[in-house]
């Protein structure tokens, strides 16, 4: 028991055994990760997976084409429920993206070294999820070819600026800043690894392409010094950024006066929900990838366990918020708020709420057990439940709050049509297509950062060296 405790203590600080497999050297880490891209070639499994993802992606393009041809009337949205699948999916996707920034920025600032091996992968997931998310509000505009109206720009109409007092306009700034800063953060992290691929590549085509994108990086110590400064600063900037993005998305709801939306606890509730959903998605993707590519040395059970812990904590925050929603409805002593709670629990969409409580309230409780936290199959199943649950959560918040509001004569119902579903499932194909390309073409684990984790990489400080 005492030995176990010592081991646990050392895991967090000095000993590097649990987050990188034993027996690795600079060369072996370098070769193993770059070989996935350069030497393994295109496997049959990759082609099959990419093909399926690409077909689903084509379904998305078909769905968008028909939408542009006919207009948003092909969706299930109506006068009563005017935010349907499009906003549900927007919030769902962008929430999934948040884990990537959390892993790359917040865990970097907190010196959580275990983040290194999943950071690149999670950041890529962020970018692709934000790309999917961005599609929905733009298509929901009805005339998406006028999307540039949302930005301040000089024009002949005389009104150069959009309405800055609206939370929907804050969204435009938040999401576009988030997408572009995440892209830059990801690319800056990739530069040294692209140089590695340039130097490892044998034939001239990959050498040239990686060479162009590595910008001629040569690992100069003076360059590294500036690079490390800006990387840390980007992490520091991304941390409040990621918190602001989901807070602002929650303002879309909480700034309005609708029962079920107008609540002060929305920003922390949404941020916790985003992290919860995002970690579930990282696990959903990392578990099969580490199995297929044999990366158990780099993405160890320790990583899965830590992610399980974060999922459990954020899951409990989210579940607490669900209970607060109910309490708030009662405590407000407002008949509309009370009706909203009653309608959520026992109304026509009540089964969704109970399914949501099961997915996001009950399933994560299994993560209290260490056995389950270190079992990848269990984690995978729980993550799937959480992803479904988070989608149901947005459905409950948006559709159930909108369908019965103040005036009973204006009540209505809502359900997604074929085109809603085909667009939603299609974006999953888009996401997976990008992910397959990423795994095939770029190093999915940061090579230089993994090398830094090796004990040989540590150079003692001058004074210490003299004492020894």
């Amino acid at each position: 028991m005492a030995a176990q405790n010592d081991q646990d203590k050392s895991m967090g600080t000095k000993s590097l055994v649990p987050i990188i497999g034993p027996g690795h050297t600079f060369a072996s880490v370098n070769d193993k990760i770059s070989a996935i891209v350069l030497l393994r070639g295109t496997s049959f499994g990759w082609v099959v997976g990419f093909g399926i993802a690409f077909m689903i992606f084509m379904m998305m393009l078909m769905s968008i084409s028909y939408l542009l041809f006919r207009g948003v009337g092909i969706w299930g949205i109506n006068n009563r429920v005017d935010w349907g699948f499009d906003i549900i999916n927007f919030v769902w996707w962008i929430g999934i993206g948040h884990a990537g920034t959390l892993i790359s920025a917040i865990l970097l600032l907190l010196h959580q070294k275990w983040r290194t091996s999943i950071n690149r992968f999670a950041e890529a997931m962020t970018l692709f999820a934000v790309a999917c998310a961005g599609l929905f509000p733009v298509l929901h505009l009805g005339r998406p070819w006028y999307a540039y109206f949302l930005f301040p720009y000089p024009n002949t109409l005389g009104m150069y600026f959009p309405q800055f007092r609206s939370p929907l306009e804050w969204d435009v700034f938040a999401v576009s800043t988030y997408a572009s800063v995440s892209l830059v953060f990801w690319y800056v992290g990739l530069i040294p690894d692209l140089a590695t691929l340039r130097d490892r590549a044998k034939s001239w085509i990959p050498k040239t392409i990686y060479g162009i994108f590595s910008l001629g990086w040569r690992g100069s110590a003076r360059h590294w010094h500036r690079y490390e400064t800006i990387y840390l600063l980007l992490a520091g900037l991304s941390t409040p950024l990621v918190l602001s993005v989901h807070s602002i998305i929650s303002f879309d709801f909480s700034v309005s006066l609708l029962p079920g939306w107008h609540a002060t606890f929305f920003p922390p509730y949404f941020v916790a929900g985003a992290v919860f959903a995002g970690f579930a998605m990282v696990m959903t993707l990392a578990i099969p990838v580490r199995w297929v590519y044999g990366l158990e040395d780099f993405i160890t059970d320790k990583h899965l366990e830590n992610m399980g812990k974060i999922t459990l904590v954020t899951g409990n925050i989210v579940f607490y918020s669900y209970l607060m929603e109910l309490f708030y409805g009662w405590y407000s002593a407002n008949e509309y708020e009370q009706f909203m709670v009653h309608n959520r629990l026992f109304g026509p969409y009540g089964y969704m709420l109970w399914a949501l409580y099961f997915c996001n309230g009950v399933m994560p409780q299994f993560l209290w057990s260490k056995k389950i936290r270190t079992n990848s199959i269990w984690l995978f199943v729980i993550s799937m439940f959480i992803s479904v649950g988070m989608w149901l959560e947005r459905y409950v918040i948006i559709v159930v709050s909108l369908h019965r509001t103040f005036l009973p004569s204006a009540w209505g119902t809502y359900s997604g049509t074929f085109w809603d579903w085909s667009l939603y499932i299609g974006t999953m194909g888009f996401f997976l297509t990008l992910l397959f390309l990423f795994i095939r073409l770029l190093p999915m684990i940061s090579i230089s950062e993994m090398q830094m984790l090796l004990p040989e990489a540590q150079v003692p400080h001058k004074e210490e060296a003299h004492e020894a």
Binding site: F26, A27, N30, D31, P152, M159, Y160, F161, Q163, F164, R165, P167, E169, W170, F173, A174, T177, S180, V181, V184, F185, V188, P192, A195, T196, R198, D199, R200, L215, G216, W217, R218, G219, S220, A221, R222, W224, H225, R226, Y227, E228, T229, I230, L233, L234, L237, S238, P240, L241, S244, I447, S448, E449, Q451, E456, A457, Q458, V459, H461, K462
Partner: protein, 181 residues
């Protein structure tokens, strides 16, 4: 136009096996009075900056300044739009509703700071540099794998090809090569 005459050599390159050897060599090089030299490593080594006396860089200040600029532009743009350019009375709410301007101001701070910071990092590092004389050394490709290099450049006033070679040999490198321009 005739290109400016360049010296025949870019510098002398020494190759080491471990980070520790490289740090010791860099410290010795600095102590010997060389100033135009650089080390090349597959990953950042914190101690190396100390050995090379490379402590200052202006990036943090640039980022702070850019963030401040972003704040002024973001807040100023919204104030100008709502007060001067197109004041709009929405149910009697104040035009200068400054708390409503904070989210966009914040996003502008982050966007300005991040982009300026990355571009200034690239500019100060002189990237992109698709061609560099060091790339001609056959072994230099190992600088992104598991070898550690130190190059004393010909532009250093103390540089003297034979002398510098001799100096580097004392540091027990694995190999020494002359880098041609």
């Amino acid at each position: 136009m005739k290109p400016k005459a360049r010296s025949l050599h870019y510098g002398v390159l020494a190759e080491f096996d471990t980070p520790q050897q490289l740090v010791d060599a860099a410290r010795a090089t600095h102590d010997a009075g060389f100033r135009k030299y650089d080390a090349y490593t597959p990953f950042p080594i914190e101690e190396l900056a100390d050995a090379m006396h490379d402590h200052q860089n202006p990036i943090a200040k640039i980022v702070l300044l850019a963030g401040f600029t972003g704040a002024c532009i973001g807040f100023g743009m919204q104030t100008f739009a709502n007060l001067v350019h197109y004041p709009m009375n929405i149910a009697g709410r104040p035009n200068f509703a400054w708390p409503m301007f904070i989210p966009v101001t914040f996003e502008c701070i982050v966007a300005f700071a991040a982009f300026t910071g990355v571009l200034s990092m690239l500019a100060l590092n002189g990237l992109p540099t698709p061609y560099h004389p060091l790339f001609n050394c056959p072994n230099f490709s190992q600088a992104t794998r598991n070898k550690f290099f130190l190059c004393i450049e010909a532009t250093d006033p103390k540089f003297e090809l034979a002398e510098t070679r001799k100096f580097l040999e004392q540091l027990n490198p694995r190999e020494i090569s002359d880098v041609e321009n």
